[in-house]
């Protein structure tokens, strides 16, 4: 049971990162390989507020998230806006380029030495039946489901969500309907960066803070997004939980080094049976 529980916690982190990925993909049709590195930069910024300026946890969290929003807007305005109608492969490679730039810059500015990062909620672990859980882990669980719910409702029931869905379907048509597609996309990038930032700040206490910390999380988030079908927000979180639990089981019963290999075997298996992911909609064939 304890293994399942810690799997769920990791799963939440994967789910949060995947949420940002899916949100950006769903709206702008771009798979953002730099998501993890953007999250890493935000986490470092929050750490600077925490340690160098001596702010409290909540103010530095909020300041870092504001930074994340500006950062996301900047990345969209400076780079991604220009490749919006480029071939998909070019878009992927641009985000890979951003990945390398951000990783290199963070290494230059903050160094490569891992440092510890404070938890959101301190306190002794609580016993629930046969399972121990720390308040911090409980907090991660809650915040993941809260954010998922908010974005799910936002996408489904608000005008902004409608504009996002419309721009995702057809850029030209939505422009003709009076939707400011570029602003919608910029907003999406800002929100995506904030989601990534939250994921990063949740990850840092568990993994230590360094420039490589988000890499494995990002890979697993991809896996989660794929299992969830890449377009479904609840699917991303459920995929994340699923992968977190599976990974922890493998690490416990087989070997910790092989968890990556088995996780990807599982994904290939899932995709072989259902090529559009578990929560993906119907696949449509491209027009000739």
């Amino acid at each position: 049971m304890q293994i399942l529980m810690s799997g769920l916690i990791f799963g939440c982190i994967y789910g949060l990162t995947a949420l940002g990925l899916v949100l950006i993909y769903k709206t702008t049709d771009i798979v953002n390989f730099a998501q993890g590195e953007m999250a890493m930069v935000t986490t470092f910024v929050s750490f600077v507020f925490l340690s160098n300026f001596g702010f409290g946890y909540i103010p530095s969290l909020l300041l870092a998230l504001i930074f994340a929003a500006i950062f996301g807007i900047a990345i969209h305005q400076i780079v991604m806006k220009r490749v919006q109608s480029a071939p998909p492969l070019n878009q992927i490679v641009v985000t890979l380029g951003l990945f390398m730039i951000l990783n290199g810059m963070a290494g230059l500015i903050w160094g490569h030495k891992p440092t510890s990062y404070p938890q959101a909620v301190k306190g002794d672990s609580i016993k629930l039946g046969s399972v121990f859980i720390t308040p911090n882990e409980l907090f991660i669980l809650c915040i993941t489901f809260f954010l998922m719910l908010i974005f799910f409702l936002l996408f489904r029931f608000t005008r902004v969500g409608l504009a996002m869905r419309a721009s995702a379907q057809d850029i030209k048509a939505s422009q003709l309907m009076g939707i400011k597609v570029t602003s919608v996309f910029t907003a999406t990038w800002a929100v995506g960066a904030i989601l990534g930032g939250v994921a990063g700040i949740m990850t840092a206490p568990i993994t230590f803070l360094d420039t490589q910390m988000m890499f494995e999380v990002l890979i697993m988030a991809f896996a989660a997004a794929v299992i969830g079908g890449f377009v479904s927000l609840p699917g991303a979180v459920i995929g994340g939980l699923f992968i977190g639990v599976f990974e922890n089981l493998i690490a416990f019963y087989i070997s910790p080094e092989m968890k990556l290999v088995y996780t990807f075997l599982l994904i290939i298996l899932v995709l072989y049976i259902r090529p559009q992911g578990i929560f993906g909609g119907k696949q449509t064939l491209k027009k000739v």
Partner: protein, 332 residues
């Protein structure tokens, strides 16, 4: 100067100059082992990016795990030469064949996948290979790696160098011919529209698997070259960042273009040579180069060298339209 560049547009002359340069390269660097290695590494990336371009540029199937095939190739060379004691001329093709078999295994499920799903599946492959190499230490030596028994066929490093350069040119020629053959045309047809390709009788699953097999075969040979040249393989030789780099090479150089892959591979193999003295700069320089080239030259660097564009405006426009159609076909 412009006249010279125009002449460079002529393929044969360009090839001739390139080959002469290659022949004189060891003399010009004074047989320096460092520069010879730099050149061989470039050759390895040229072969790898060409075979990835076959998959991505011509076939429209994305692969983010190409470095996994490189690892398989180099490990096959190490295991076959050291543990089984097989000779060089058997080991190198065998490395290709083993990698091709792995490519077949990857290609079979990949036939059903498209776009991001394929990207993630191949990403998983690229990530898994180093992990398996680490874990399976009876066969691979685990963390400490394996050494490769050098071949007795070549008396000196220079001879080996010339052999590998010859092999690279041979593979470039082979891939060029594959692209122009009926197989290559089938790949392009699949990339442009799977439905249309199927309608005219192209067996999709057969050709997609073939693509993976051919691509992994050549990449395996490139991995073998690495094994023989460096004489030592370890799990950290080809990691996932190498896969990203190879993907960046073909996009920056130019998709579906053989000179493009060569230019891309050259560029990204040489950049680290200039930036290595400043720690941590390499990634930033490569990243900036990638972003800038895609923002300003979205068709890749080959598009800078198209001097022979003196067609009438109309055909140019038609060509552009056609190209756009083609680009839309590369569905990731």
């Amino acid at each position: 100067m412009i006249l010279m560049l125009k002449q460079l547009g002529n393929k044969r002359i360009a090839l001739g100059i390139l080959i002469v340069c290659m022949l004189f390269y060891p003399f010009s660097v004074g047989y320096s082992s460092y520069f010879l290695t730099l050149f061989v590494i470039t050759c390895i990336y040229v072969i790898t990016s060409l075979s990835l371009n076959l998959l991505v540029g011509y076939g429209g199937q994305i692969s983010v795990g190409q470095a996994g095939f490189l690892s398989v190739g180099s490990y096959s060379v190490a295991i076959l030469s050291t543990k089984l004691g097989l000779p060089f001329l058997v080991v190198l093709p065998l490395a290709g064949i083993i990698t091709a078999l792995i490519g077949l295994l990857i290609g079979l499920p990949a036939v059903r996948l498209k776009g991001h799903f394929l990207a993630v599946a191949t990403l998983g492959f690229g990530l898994s290979v180093p992990q398996i190499a680490l874990k399976w230490d009876k066969l691979t030596g685990g963390f400490s790696g394996l050494s490769v028994t050098p071949s007795s066929l070549f008396a000196s490093e220079t001879q080996l160098f010339y052999f590998f350069v010859f092999l690279t040119v041979l593979i470039i020629w082979l891939i060029n011919n594959i692209v122009k053959s009926s197989i290559g045309r089938a790949f392009i047809a699949i990339r442009d529209s799977e439905v249309a390709a199927q309608a005219i009788g192209i067996n999709l699953s057969f050709y997609k698997t073939t693509m993976f097999v051919i691509s992994s075969f050549f990449t395996g040979i490139a991995g073998g070259i690495y094994g023989y040249w460096v004489g030592f393989v370890s799990p950290n030789d080809f990691v996932i960042t190498n896969s990203f780099l190879i993907l960046a090479m073909i996009v920056v150089g130019g998709l579906a273009s053989i000179p493009g892959s060569i230019i891309g591979a050259l560029l990204f193999s040489i950049i680290p040579h200039f930036t290595d003295s400043y720690v941590g700069i390499t990634n930033i320089v490569i990243g900036v180069a990638v972003v800038l080239i895609i923002l300003f030259k979205p068709k890749g660097m080959v598009s800078m060298f198209n001097f022979k564009r003196n067609k009438s405006e109309k055909t140019k426009k038609n060509e552009l339209l056609l190209k756009e159609e083609g680009n839309r076909g590369v569905n990731i």
